[in-house]
């Protein structure tokens, strides 16, 4: 919607396509805030620090000029959103209030109550509605994007759409098409994602030849509330206020938690991490919980859940310090966390990877905003923005950077899109109508075939099974044997896919054929994620493979690596120039980066993702080891 607003400002005509009213999109779920280094509290924050925190948080896998440009644009973006009426919390003087968030030392996060994403989305939705009422935007809500229309030269000339009510399939023409279709959460079944986060649009582009990048980098949040329909986040502040994570020492213990005596409780984070206890970083917490449930089989009653316990605090204390977030727990579980321990489990939360997109830097470590290459996929004329692209978060995303990257990409790409349209030697009106007719007819045939499937398998059950395969094998702790097994299981599922029965063959407002088409895409996407994870033999950010952990010495200081690199220019470094074990560790780190500090590229060939690697732009800050304590 940011792109729509920006394009409308430049007098372009935009058709906005969405499954549902755009006001109901997934960004409403983002609670925490949006980052911008405005430094209103004299802490010395700067866009440069924001840039450094972001690339470091992402384990240096993001292209640096892009991240830097985003961080430099961030203050203007916050001011713009403020001017659009977003109810950002204010200081006593009435200016923007900022708070601290994970992964940084600065108060850099602007927020609007506990629903920042909703408020930002609404502000953009309102601007789009204004342009709609002026006739510049045509909204096609209750429509599904099926694919791009490509001409004989492979240039994107429009899109094939599916009217979800009438079932009609038709094409729209355009000089350019932008995908702003969010993450692929539904590949994992139950996640913190919304039901529309199905990844189908980007996968469709991949099936048409576009490159998909860094698919294996999936962020898992350690504490979510398990539900039968979805997993909802439980804020880290519950642990910040003294919440203790534990399970019974007995397997399959079905007792009421309040009846489990203290000595039979296993406070595994406190025991395994005496210094940090329950406040270990997110990735460590997720890995430990995963280990307890799947390897030690100590989940609550044998289920994938552990306790997050606040009941040792008084109700008054909890109401005062954590009232809002505890209410959410009560609302969705019916249990009062002031009286009984909460049941939580890590949940798939965000995809750092996505459809591959391009950029053009200006030679000074920032982006040339006029370049038509910005945010363009490897299909000319097909663009992507937001969570569905891959460029900003590297191997791991920092909190409150997702709303920023999504608005930033939308705004940043606007001028380049206009330029692309101006540069076109032949405009869409000159493209033969058969190009559109063929694309339409092909999809009519496909969707009809999905609808007529008359086998034995229920697509909703198959989707659930796909999620189970991914959650069990391609999640927090990754082992090559399991990843290889998952690939076989996905292949099996793909065979069973052919034996689907479409559970609804009516003609009006029938979601079943779409669901089957989305499932088809999700199977392909699951292969991209899993194969990428299998091939990448290292531990980087959210991609944890214990077998390839470089075993950073406990007393290692990341600054040593800067010194190490300086010294290296003058020849080989002796082992005793650094504390014992450090030199060999840094050598391992260097070798690992030479091999794996690369973007994973998946391309569709013979029904499989072909994986290759591309260089990452690290021209501004030298990658260095992160310290994880």
């Amino acid at each position: 919607m940011a792109a729509t607003m920006k394009l409308c400002e430049d007098k372009a005509k935009v058709t906005l396509v969405s499954y549902q009213p755009v006001k109901r999109s997934h960004s409403v779920c983002a609670q925490g805030g949006i980052n911008a280094a405005i430094d209103t509290k004299g802490e010395g924050d700067s866009p440069e620090s924001h840039f450094y925190d972001t690339v470091k948080g992402g384990d240096f896998l993001a292209h640096q000029p892009l991240v830097r440009d985003m961080c430099y644009q961030a203050p203007a973006i916050i001011h713009l959103m403020d001017r659009l009426g977003v109810a950002f919390n204010r200081t006593p003087e009435g200016h923007l209030e900022f708070r601290r968030f994970g992964g940084t030392l600065y108060s850099r996060t602007a927020f609007a109550g506990s629903t920042t994403g909703q408020q930002l989305l609404y502000a953009l939705d309102e601007q789009v509605r204004r342009y709609e009422s002026e006739g510049q935007v045509k909204k096609l809500e209750w429509h599904e994007y099926l694919s791009a229309v490509l001409d004989s030269e492979g240039i994107c000339r429009g899109a094939v759409l599916h009217d979800l009510r009438s079932g009609e399939i038709f094409t729209v023409k355009g000089d350019a098409v932008v995908l702003a279709t969010g993450g692929p959460a539904q590949v994992y079944g139950k996640t913190t994602g919304s039901t529309v986060c199905n990844g189908a649009a980007t996968t469709s582009a991949y099936l048409q030849g576009a490159k998909y990048a860094n698919g294996e980098f999936i962020q898992v949040h350690p504490t979510a509330i398990p539900g039968q329909d979805k997993l909802r986040l439980m804020s880290e502040s519950a642990r910040g206020e003294g919440g203790r994570i534990w399970v019974s020492r007995k397997q399959n213990d079905n007792r009421d938690p309040l009846n489990i005596p203290e000595e039979e409780r296993y406070y595994f984070l406190e025991e395994n991490h005496p210094r940090f206890g329950n406040l270990v970083p997110r990735d460590v917490a997720s890995r430990e919980i995963h280990d307890i449930v799947y390897n030690q089989k100590l989940g609550i009653g044998g289920q994938p859940m552990v306790y997050l316990d606040l009941t040792h605090h008084s109700e008054g204390f909890l109401e005062h310090r954590l009232g809002g977030i505890l209410d959410i727990y009560t609302k969705f579980t019916g249990d009062d966390p002031k009286k009984v321990p909460m049941k939580i489990f890590p949940a798939v939360h965000y995809s750092m990877g996505g459809i591959w997109t391009d950029y053009e830097d200006d030679g000074n470590g920032l982006i040339d905003h006029k370049s038509p290459r910005n945010q363009m996929t490897s299909i000319p004329g097909l663009y992507a923005a937001g969570e569905c692209d891959y460029q900003f978060h590297g191997a791991n995303r920092l909190g409150a950077n997702s709303l920023l990257s999504c608005i930033y990409t939308g705004l940043m790409m606007g001028p380049g899109l206009i330029q692309y349209s101006r540069n076109l030697t032949s405009h869409v009106e000159e493209v033969s109508s058969t190009v559109f007719d063929q694309a339409r007819d092909q999809w009519r045939g496909r969707m009809q075939a999905f609808k007529q499937m008359n086998g034995r398998e229920n697509p909703y059950i198959l989707h659930q099974e796909l999620g189970e395969i991914m959650l069990a094998n391609v999640l927090i702790v990754r082992e090559n044997s399991r990843l290889a097994k998952a690939l076989t299981q996905i292949d099996d599922l793909e065979i069973r896919f052919k034996d689907l029965q479409c559970p609804d063959t009516t003609h009006w407002s029938n979601p079943a054929p779409s669901m089957i088409q989305q499932l088809h895409c999700q199977i392909q996407l699951a292969k991209i994620i899993t194969k990428g994870a299998l091939i990448r033999n290292e531990f980087r950010g959210a991609h944890y493979k214990p077998e390839f952990d470089l075993n950073q010495p406990e007393d290692f200081d990341p600054h040593e690596y800067v010194e190490y690199n300086e010294k290296r220019q003058y020849g080989e470094i002796r082992e005793d120039e650094f504390p014992p074990g450090h030199t060999s560790y840094m050598k391992r780190y260097e070798e690992c980066n030479e091999k794996w500090l690369k973007t994973t590229i998946a391309e569709y060939q013979n029904n499989q993702p072909e994986i290759s690697f591309e260089e990452v732009n690290t021209s501004l800050v030298q990658p260095r080891p992160r310290k994880y304590d």
Binding site: Q119, T195, I328, T506, S509
Partner: protein, 250 residues
């Protein structure tokens, strides 16, 4: 018979807008922490009625499942609310699901709430800015005023207030509480206030604020506890002033 191991659902269905409605009943295994959404998802996986008849899965709208998108609004046991927060353990059985009755029906539990979005256009529910270019900070706003605005801006256009409103009907033009409350929200903002008159003019005609019967049920059903009646009262006052201005100054 349903017992503590099963869930009994009674769902009002309709295949298309001009079709006839009919009821279907389902019995599902009870799962911990089930809500109405998870029951509907179970039906997708096993679309078989209580009588053992194979049927099409039930069609409904949903997205965020966290009660922030507004999509999954329906009438549950006679009360309009979101299905995601409707926990099965807290509902008497059978659980009766019906589509909202005040909006055109699309299919089963799915209705068309476009009218709400169209009303937002009529009242210019946006801040008209000069442009997206970096012209500096927004207006200074007192935190108290911001907090008040935030309450109003949480409206997710779900339609609960309109479903409950005795004045809002399929065959009239009444805009209803959610729209009036948005008028108040944008009139409160320092920049938004510059278009205050246009917004008030838009709610003076037929279907406008004067048609509100003051039943006050809107505020009772609002899932976000938005002070809708307060908004109506305040916008009512503003409209009266505007009316007088229009009479004497134009």
């Amino acid at each position: 018979m349903p017992d503590d191991k099963t869930i009994h659902l009674k769902i009002k269905r309709q295949d298309q807008p001009d079709g006839k409605s009919y009821w279907e009943e389902f019995e599902l295994p009870r799962k911990p922490r089930a809500n109405v959404i998870s029951c509907l998802m179970d039906i997708q996986m096993h679309p078989i009625t209580r009588e053992g008849k194979e049927v099409t899965p039930v069609v409904w709208e949903c997205n965020c499942l966290e009660e922030v998108c507004g999509a999954c609004t329906m009438v549950i046991n006679g009360k309009v609310r979101q299905a995601c927060t409707a926990l099965v353990d807290a509902l008497p059985q059978p659980i009766v699901l019906e589509p909202m009755s005040k909006f055109p029906l699309v299919r089963d539990l799915h209705v068309d709430r476009s009218r709400m979005f169209e009303n937002l256009k009529k009242v210019k529910a946006w801040i008209h800015i000069d442009g997206t270019y970096d012209i500096g900070e927004g207006p200074v706003i007192p935190e108290k005023q911001r907090a008040k605005a935030y309450l109003l801006s949480e409206c997710m256009t779900c339609g609960c207030c309109l479903e409950a409103c005795p004045q809002f009907a399929k065959d009239n033009d009444f805009m209803g509480a959610s729209t009036f409350s948005q008028v108040r929200l944008f009139n409160m903002h320092p920049t938004g206030a510059m278009e205050q008159e246009e917004r008030l003019d838009a709610i003076m005609g037929e279907g406008g604020i004067a048609d509100c019967g003051n039943a006050q049920v809107c505020v009772e059903v609002c899932p976000k506890k938005i002070p809708l009646t307060e908004s109506i009262a305040e916008i009512g006052r503003e409209t009266t002033l505007q009316l007088l201005k229009n009479l004497f100054l134009k």
